[in-house]
């Protein structure tokens, strides 16, 4: 049985959570605000205290999980109400299902698992809901009833584990290119094709290319939320997690590295090819890209996840908790689609025919 942390208000002992609007901890009961810096100190003091024996739990007696599942399950006790928390392996921060107080699982943040930086939430739950409404505006092919009928099942503020990779890149490229010149004299049209071989070498640096370290979240969804501005990141403190959900990474840096390399390679190739200009018909003949990766950095980035359902289908939206960028695919109204298609087709046919007709008679 590992320990959980619950941040208590020094004033009223209520459970306190991080408030993104003031970028401080706030007590929802007595409105006290706490500096993150002082909590950090408190945090350090806390770890030195011995673990309370009362909270131990005899796991064997209550074990009704399959062995495999049990590996992924952990049982914790809530510090406020003593309620039993069952979390899966990767959960770092959650809330107590009984008293709804924020809970941080400290053991999952120790050693390797401790993030170096955290990007605190800048936008709150209300902003996420408003962003969803805004997201539905101006979409002509969205079913009209979707906005009224879809209801938000849950809105979760999640700290998503990201690996950040730095890379120094050296790249070489060899291109075959042609330049065409045409001229004519009294009798002939001439076409002169000059063939060139182009050599290009360049170095560049990539900083903090993010790769989502959680296998539970869709990589595409997370990539759509980019970019996060790393300048807003602060040294990790567990207190930031209070009031939010958080996962630890379950996809190692090695696996994530491949994804980062892929992306770096691609943009390096594009960038190098961009230096070839003024030629027609450029073809890449050969190339070499050498990456020198630095150490990966483990960070937590803020994401609002909104799950809604409509006509028994689930729709997942995500918002960048820092910049407010909102993504999520929407259903297509087929009737509206064809109505638009046909009416545009008919109107344009008449319009184009009319214009041709007009032009013809003006001639």
């Amino acid at each position: 049985m590992a320990e959980t942390i619950e941040y208590k208000c020094p004033n009223c002992s209520g459970a306190i959570a991080f408030d993104s609007s003031i970028q401080k901890m706030r007590c929802p009961y007595c409105d006290s605000e706490l500096e993150m810096e002082s909590l950090k100190k408190l945090d350090e003091a806390l770890t030195e205290l011995p673990v309370s024996q009362d909270l131990t739990w005899d796991q064997s007696q209550a074990n009704q999980w399959q062995a495999e599942e049990a590996d992924q399950m952990r049982v914790y006790a809530c510090e406020s109400c003593g309620g039993q928390l069952i979390t899966d392996e990767t959960t770092v921060a959650t809330s107590c299902p009984y008293c709804d107080n924020p809970v941080v699982l400290k053991e999952r943040l120790a050693g390797d698992l401790k993030p170096r930086f955290v990007l605190p939430f800048k936008l709150d739950k209300q902003a996420a809901k408003e962003a969803l409404n805004k997201h539905l505006l101006g979409k002509r092919l969205l079913p009209k009833v979707f906005k009224d009928q879809n209801h938000i099942d849950e809105v979760k503020g999640i700290y998503v584990p990201f690996w950040l990779f730095d890379a120094d890149v050296a790249a070489d490229g060899k291109y075959a290119a042609t330049m065409v010149r045409t001229w004519s004299d009294a009798h002939y049209n001439y076409t002169e094709t000059n063939h060139y071989s182009l050599l290009r070498s360049a170095t560049m640096t990539y900083e903090r290319v993010p790769v989502d370290g959680s296998s539970k979240l869709d990589d595409r969804l997370m990539q759509s939320l980019e970019p996060f501005d790393f300048k807003g990141a602060v040294d990790f403190q567990t207190a930031y997690l209070a009031g939010y959900l958080a996962d630890r990474y379950d996809q190692s840096a090695d696996i994530s590295l491949e994804q980062a390399n892929q992306r770096i390679r691609q943009s390096t190739e594009n960038r190098l090819a961009n230096t070839v200009q003024g030629y027609g018909n450029v073809r890449k003949e050969d190339g070499s890209i050498r990456l020198n990766n630095g150490e990966p950095i483990y960070v937590l980035y803020p994401v609002w996840l909104l799950n809604t359902s409509w006509q028994k289908k689930k729709y997942t939206f995500a918002m960048n908790g820092q910049t407010g960028k909102f993504v999520g695919d929407l259903p297509l109204d087929r009737t509206a689609y064809w109505t638009y298609f046909l009416s545009i087709f008919l109107v344009m046919t008449l319009l184009i025919y009319g214009l041709v007709w007009l032009f013809y008679w003006m001639m």
Binding site: G138, K139, R140, L141, L142, D172, S184, A186, Y188, N189, Y190, T191, E192, T193, N194, H195, Y196, S197, L198, L199, R200, S201, A202, T203, M204, T205, Y206, V209, P210, R220, Q223, S224, E226, Q262, R263, I264, S267, N270, R271, T275, V327, G328, D329, L330, L332, Y337, Y340, F341, L342, I344, F345, L346, M348, T349, L351, I352, Y353, V356, Y360, W361
Partner: protein, 393 residues
């Protein structure tokens, strides 16, 4: 043997010289020399007699020896001796066709014909190379001064009677309304003259044309050489410009070529009608203002196709608004600003190819001029001005 045949030939020739031919020197056609065959003379005689009967006008034609002097007084005395003071005309021509004289007898012999030129009857005769054809033309010219011939003359027999009646009705209506004769003439031969000459002369010497300028348009079809020619006169020259003529012929030529003559002639008649109306109400159709065909229906599927592309594009954009989740394949926004350094950049020239193709010959189109080409005209045998043009079909 050779000598004998020569002898016989000489004898025969002398016989020709001395014995007067079967020609007579009475009646309307008097050929003492014998240029006209008997049956030819008989035909012409009948024709002249019918003119006299129908219109009370005496038409004489006399061929005389070339050694005759003062043809004028001769013609006058001859006319007065045979016709007295009856209204009529006498054309006297010497055998070499070098001298001629015309005499109008009676009080109204001249005014009844309403000729604008004194030598009109002479040229009517003289334009033909053949004596018989010449006299025939002379008689026809006189006759048509009294009665205008039909506006459809289908000598080649291209139309059945129903088509001919319908066309004639249409041409009469147009001619009456537009105050100008619109004529269709089909022949099987034009006897060695050019289509232009034939069409112009036919128009002039057959009494076509309305008003003092002889306004009219004639379409000649010569089946012998498959010629077509449109001759315009008076207001017709103004109304139907060179460009207009090309336009009109473009419209009926394919019908002509495919043998649909009735349709070709009707097309011609309608277009001439349209052109004359245009000339009267506005300026004539010309190279820069030809009537337009209705826009080809081909444009409907073409614009449909374009509209399909537009509709697809617009709906694709609208559809794209619904999708905001997409993976990123590159990392360009993470490249450190200013970190990109081009360490090596070499452009190595390898080799060059030169290919040449002959230039297309510039098309020598002089049709590019704007502002209207107007109508070109020429002078016909009768001295009148004509416009027009033609070709083969």
């Amino acid at each position: 043997m050779k000598k004998i045949s020569l002898l016989i030939l000489t004898f025969l020739c002398s016989l020709l010289m001395t014995v007067p031919v079967w020609a007579d020197d009475t009646g309307y056609i008097r050929d003492t020399i014998g240029y006209l065959e008997a049956y030819e003379e008989e035909t012409l005689e009948t024709e002249a007699a019918s003119i006299a009967e129908a219109y009370g006008y005496q038409t004489y034609f006399v061929i005389v020896d070339s050694d005759l002097e003062n043809l004028d007084s001769h013609a006058q005395s001859l006319y007065q001796s045979v016709a007295g003071d009856a209204n009529g005309v006498l054309l006297m021509v010497d055998v070499n066709r070098s001298q001629w004289s015309i005499y109008f007898g009676g009080a109204q012999g001249r005014s009844m014909l309403r000729l604008d030129r004194e030598d009109f009857l002479w040229t009517s005769f003289f334009k033909e190379l053949d004596w018989y054809m010449g006299v025939k033309s002379y008689l026809t010219t006189v006759k048509t001064r009294f009665e205008k011939p039909a506006l459809v003359v289908d000598e080649a027999g291209l139309l059945d009677s129903q088509e001919e009646t319908a066309l004639l009705t249409k041409l009469n209506e147009i001619s009456q309304r537009q105050k100008m004769d619109v004529v269709v003439l089909t022949v099987s031969s034009i006897y060695g003259s050019t289509p232009q000459e034939y069409a112009d002369n036919y128009f002039d010497y057959n009494g076509y044309g309305q008003g003092s300028d002889h306004d009219g348009v004639l379409l000649l079809i010569n089946m012998g050489q498959r010629d077509w020619y449109i001759s315009t006169t008076g207001y017709g020259i103004y109304a139907i410009t060179d460009a207009g003529l090309n336009y009109i012929s473009d419209k009926f030529l394919n019908h002509l070529s495919s043998g649909d003559y009735a349709l070709a002639f009707n097309t011609y008649a309608d277009l001439v009608d349209q052109f004359v109306t245009q000339a009267k109400t506005d300026t004539p159709y010309d190279s820069d203002s030809l009537p337009k065909d209705p826009l080809s229906l081909m444009w409907l599927p073409v614009s449909g196709l374009l509209a399909l592309v537009v509709a697809w594009l617009v709906t694709a954009i609208l559809k794209g608004q619904l999708t905001s989740v997409q993976s990123r394949s590159d990392a360009r926004e993470y490249m450190k600003d200013g970190s990109f350094k081009l360490t090596n950049s070499q452009d190595l020239f390898l080799y060059r190819n030169v290919s040449k193709v002959p230039r297309p010959k510039p098309s020598s189109s002089s049709s590019g001029f704007r502002g209207g080409g107007g109508s070109s005209s020429h002078r016909s045998f009768s001295g009148r001005s004509h416009g027009g043009g033609g070709g083969k079909f």
